[in-house]
Symmetry: C2
Subunit: 288 residues, 2 copies
């Protein structure tokens, strides 16, 4: 028999109700629903103000399970890569101000120009740019005391969002740049991106052994999925064996929160946000 998830371990990624509420509403809503964790997005933080956000989160007693997001390292030219690095350093500083457990890195896909157009098909080259970018950012992140969490993204995002597409790849990159989690570099495991991977259990154990399991994101994979980006499911509505993956995470030593991150144009972004949070609570406890 599998044990239930502990309600005290629930965190909400603010994207989950971003269409209904601004960040101050979300912070108040989480407190009202007895939810302990939050993971905000940088655009929401900027809209509210960094210091104001930090104060509100602290006053609400919330744990910041991550800041979304840094990354997007590949670019057409040196100036583009430098601009990305500068922006990532600001993201690190924001994460420090918010007391975030980590800065989540969506590392970027193929290099783009300033207009966002992909300018190269060299995936190996993009991966080298990611390695170099993370390596350069790491020094600043360490001095700021902000752990960096590489989030492997589903292979369907390899071209435009992230060319790190398996947990094994993320582990390899961590091994190369900072072999122990205490060195400031680790991974964010999001079930949506990695649930299909036959090597998932082994790679979670590998990340656990290196103490680099910095974050755990949950939602569900719907069948059919009608949109590549914004058709994620609520836990229990799809096909992912969430208790099994949570068991692997816990077996590998993960003790952090479980962050619900759902992009859902047609369902959850249309519902009453209080109902969404209630559903997150219930599904987290019952089927995650």
């Amino acid at each position: 028999m599998r044990t239930s998830a502990d309600p005290a371990q629930l965190s909400i990624n603010t994207a989950t109700v971003r269409e209904q509420w601004r960040l101050p509403d979300i912070i108040a809503g989480l407190a009202r629903h007895g939810i302990r964790g939050i993971s905000p997005w940088r655009d929401q933080v900027a809209a509210t103000g960094l210091k104001d956000t930090a104060t509100r989160i602290r006053d609400a007693g919330l744990v910041v399970t991550g800041l979304c997001r840094g990354g997007m390292f590949p670019a057409e030219d040196r100036q583009g890569r430098q601009a990305a690095l500068d922006d990532n350093r600001r993201a690190v500083d924001e994460a420090a101000t918010l007391g975030a457990r980590c800065l989540v890195l969506v590392v970027g896909g193929l290099p783009k120009d300033r207009t966002g157009r992909i300018v190269s098909k060299d995936l190996g080259g993009a991966r080298a740019m990611v390695r170099d970018g993370v390596g350069e950012l790491l020094e600043h992140a360490r001095s700021a005391g902000v752990p960096l969490a590489i989030e492997p993204l589903h292979p369907m995002y390899a071209a435009d969002r992230a060319c790190i597409n398996t947990l094994g790849q993320a582990n390899d990159l961590c091994d190369e740049l900072a072999p122990k989690g205490a060195d400031g570099l680790g991974v964010a495991v999001d079930v949506y991106h990695v649930w299909w991977d036959p090597a998932l259990r082994r790679e979670i154990e590998r990340a656990g052994a290196a103490e680099r399991l910095f974050a755990y994101h949950i939602c569900d994979w719907l069948v059919p999925t009608t949109d590549l980006l914004n058709d994620r499911g609520m836990m229990g509505d799809g096909v992912i064996d969430l208790p099994q993956i949570r068991g692997w995470m816990e077996g590998a030593g993960y003790r952090g929160l479980h962050e619900v991150e759902i992009f859902s144009t047609n369902t959850w972004w249309r519902r009453d946000p209080d109902e969404v949070l209630l559903t997150c609570r219930r599904r987290h406890a019952d089927v995650s």
Copy 2:
């Protein structure tokens, strides 16, 4: 400098023009356009009649680069799995009658009931059903002289179409069941499914060393992709470095044809089919 693809190596998967033409039209169209290879789907063959199809293909002088498709092994219960196996044996016999170079296996995802509803989240169990199903089918395929080609499908199809999602996984399964291609089991490499994989080159080389590279399918990955199933791109319209992957295939010893397989509701299925074939010819020679 990369050499161009040899026009004589072009094959067309009949799905590419399936909305415009029935199979006899496609066979005639390929001959008219000087295209040497064809890979038909079983429903099209059934609609035309197996013997009639075989005669038409022989008369047109076409190489059958594969029959699409066998597989779909996982099922809710023993009867369901037996029904799948029986159907796969018929597919083997059809492939033998058509003189197909291989029967392509889309192995199936999570187990479904008779209505097509997914009834389990046990992905490991589904993979075991696939191993058992391929293993059982192999004996019949060998006696019929039909090579089986496992096609790893993109991870976004893991739940509903195929739980073999990387070439490494397919290689592992072949190693377990029939270590050499001459034993009748190999792989079909479709760039759409595997282009993102950081281990792709290594796994192509591994498959080549075992002489199990039975088929090579091409198209392109569009950015953005608007539908998970039917928004594949024409070669050159997306982000896949096709000459690089072809180079890896050739370096690993692949000498077979290059089969264009494009599912495209909004573009190529709406175009004049002669224009589609002309475009396939041109793009194959220029950018593949």
